[in-house]
């Protein structure tokens, strides 16, 4: 008889947690060991239960899901994180790969896709969409997105990313300088650099880019 797959569900939406719990329990080879509504609790529960698969939402308040995934991977080498997300963004994929996640499944896919993904991941098969699969590159350090397909966003420094977030939120350079405790001139410097890298030269387009790439919520 096939081994039972133990699963930890992490989603801040009560209805989704309940659905997944009900749906997965209908599968004879799956058991939901716990379900929590934030990434911080997920780390605690993963260490406690050492589930085979952690089905984790990306957009949650509090600790970043990717940080949680990295911690879980480090503490529980046999637990595999599978992300559940509303939309796929390049930045999500890059972060998921960096955290050694085993894949993602979108909420727009039918529930059967989630079940297949859990089953695949539990068997040691990563679960990425075919399109993303084509863009994956294996190098000596592991798996990453193809250079050519890498997002422009990944060329930004952490400081530039931060400035981009604030710009996209519609903040003035002065207010950004205050928040980041740097001079307006330095904000200007980051701003012109990131605009040059992204080849975007107006704030509306910058905001659109930031939203599309998941730097800020729409």
């Amino acid at each position: 008889m096939a081994r039972t797959v133990s699963i930890l569900i992490v989603d801040d939406h009560e209805s989704i947690r309940q659905l997944l719990k009900d749906r997965l329990r209908a599968e004879p080879d799956m058991t939901v060991v716990s379900h929590v509504d934030n990434a911080e609790a997920a780390v605690v529960e993963a260490i406690e239960h050492k589930p085979d698969v952690i089905l984790m939402d990306i957009d949650m308040p509090g600790l970043s899901a990717f940080d949680a995934a990295a911690r879980i991977t480090a503490r529980c080498p046999n637990s595999r994180v599978l992300f559940l997300t509303a939309f796929v963004k390049d930045r999500y994929i890059e972060s998921a790969l960096a955290a050694q996640a085993w894949g993602y499944v979108t909420k727009t896919e039918p529930p059967e896709a989630v079940i297949k993904a859990i089953r695949d991941v539990s068997r040691g098969f990563a679960y990425f969409s075919r399109e993303v699969q084509s863009r994956l590159v294996v190098d000596s350090k592991g798996v990453r997105l193809a250079e050519k397909g890498r997002t422009l966003a990944s060329t930004l420094t952490p400081r530039e990313r931060e400035v981009l977030c604030y710009l996209a939120q519609g903040r003035s350079k002065k207010s950004i300088a205050e928040i980041m405790c740097i001079s307006v001139k330095t904000v200007d410097f980051h701003c012109s650099h990131l605009m040059e890298k992204l080849d975007i030269h107006d704030r509306v387009e910058l905001a659109r880019f930031a939203i599309r790439e998941g730097f800020v919520d729409a």
């Binding site: 939406h13 209805s15 989704i16 659905l19 997944l20 009900d22 749906r23 209908a26 957009d59 595999r80 509303a86 939309f87 796929v88 963004k89 390049d90 050694q100 085993w102 894949g103 909420k107 727009t108 039918p110 529930p111 059967e112 695949d120 991941v121 040691g124 098969f125 990563a126 679960y127 990425f128 075919r130 399109e131 699969q133 084509s134 863009r135 994956l136 590159v137 294996v138 190098d139 000596s140 592991g142 798996v143 193809a146 509306v204 659109r208 939203i211 599309r212 919520d217 729409a218």
Partner: protein
Amino acid sequence: MPDKPIHVLLVEDSVGDARLLREALAETGAGRFRVVHVPSLREALGALSSAPSCEVILLDLSLPDSAGLETVERMHAAASSLPIIVLTGLDDEQLGLEAIRRGAQDYLLKGQADGRLVARAIRHAVERKGLELERERLLDALGRARDELELRVRERTADLHRTVTRLEAEVRARALAEEGARVSEMRLRLLLEQVPAIIWTTDAELRVTSSYGVGPAAVALPPRARSAKPAPAGRAPEPQALAPAAHRRALAGESLSYEVHLSDRTYHCHVEPLRSADGAIAGCIGVALDITEHKRLEEQHARVREQLHQAHKLDMIGRLAAGLSHDFGNVLATVAGYTSLARRHLPDDHPACRSLDAIDEAAQQARGMTHALLSFGGRVRMAKRPLNLRAAVEESVRLLHHALPASVELAVSLPEPPLWIEADPVQVQQVLLNLALNARDAMPGGGRLEISLAPASEAQARAVKSRPGVSPAAACLAVRDTGEGMSAEILPHVFEPFFTTKKRDRGTGLGLSIVHGIVTDLGGRIRVASAAGEGTTFTLVLPCVAPSPAAGPEGSSAAKREGLIALVGGDRHVRGVMAAALSSLGYDVVHADDPEALLAEHEMCRDRLRLVVLPAEVLKNGGEWFGRLRGAEGLLPAVVIADEADPVAEGTLPRGVRVLRRPFQMTEFRDLVCRVLER
């Protein structure tokens, strides 16, 4: 009348000589000479100051207080205006000559001078000295006159120079003024030639007396007045555009501006009184500027502002949609999830199954709409890939069924075999939905909507950039309706952003521009054919691509391929990603951390094993197990994953073993596996 006596100063230390001389002079006539005798130079000098009437000096050179030529010099210095006659000894003639050089008038030899000779010498000396003095006076006067003349010449020259400088400055100023006037004239001419303007003047009866510029046509002046030269006075026409009322007001002394519209053009005019030199109003002077273009730009700006406003509104809607769709997606996932759960508990023939299927389909459709909405707002990135256009059209048509009213008949014609293009399925969906919904709106009373897909003709394919070696080169997708159609005036504008013929609340005017943008992005072309009342046909030609060898049919799992592939060793995460890639090709895949575990698997399904994938380091540590795995014949192919710098080389490895160097893209890996196994 007797001559006036000549006063003589005799300077002689010898009393005898003095007496002899006196006597000699007296012999020449009584009272002719009045002689004062002094014996020394000192006394002579004293006598000169006390007796200024002395007219001539007879001077002996050998005196008690002076001797020789020094005596002459001292005496001459003291009385330079008086003639001096030197008295010398017989043997001193040379000295006498020298004395003359030093200022003396004459010299007399003592002892030889009789009265007449001395008297004549005296008279000559006085006369000569007088002439000398006169000459000097004249020379002096002449010098002064010359100096004065030179001064006056200099002053006059300076005057002349000043005058010349002033004249030169005046000439230059005049030349500058003339040049300025010429340039000003040129500017005005250029302005009037290049700017659609006219300047005119009229007389007090409002007859045009002159007009300049290319604007006459603008203000509808007859051709005769349309030259850059003034129109001949007297034959001036009655201007049609001169706004008589405005001109009459100008004649009354008012300056005013007004606009006129003539022959589809708009002119800004300004007219004011034309005054003669005495200030009286002699007529009017006016200028008209063609501002049609300016007006058009103003209207265009207003339109662009409106479009910008629309775009901002859309952007806000996009943001709102993105925010909503996240939560909406969760709700849909819940609906679909529970539907699926309920379906599992029911047998297929249960009456509720149809309802559950309908709910599921609606949820799927809503998910597609959410995605389309997000992609429309640019919130999700389009991921182009080889796409089965037929399948994508079928999927869109499925969504369309729900969007079309019953009065619209939908006819779909799709070809066999499939046509592949490189696109995101959402792009195809957006194109078809936009075109179909436009068609629906064009058929308010119902009609027929045809969607047909077929290989493009050669002529059509030539219009797009096709990929070499792909056949057919392009796909032709046509959307045809039997609706109202569009007029020839509307047709050229249909792909312009924000162009809409729908009511304000019905359309954004973006649909067809989005379609155009997508088709262009896909390297294709779109054409529209329409006539009022005869329906509209949009024809899209999209370049085809070859399906990649690894690509299975879109939307379904990969076609099952025969055989088992084993992955052994290496990083689990990397192995998991590679295993998934092979699994998506349709192969069965097994994987293990180490060769022992794999051998256990292999024993169970040795017959089905077709390929082993392993990192180079695993191979190095266990040649023996690899041999066992490859079987007695050693024919089982293998792919060895090695770093760029790894010394492992294909030539040194057993036959059938291929090396794939890191880094590699997953598509390379899949292609290599396909090549190895399908050889």
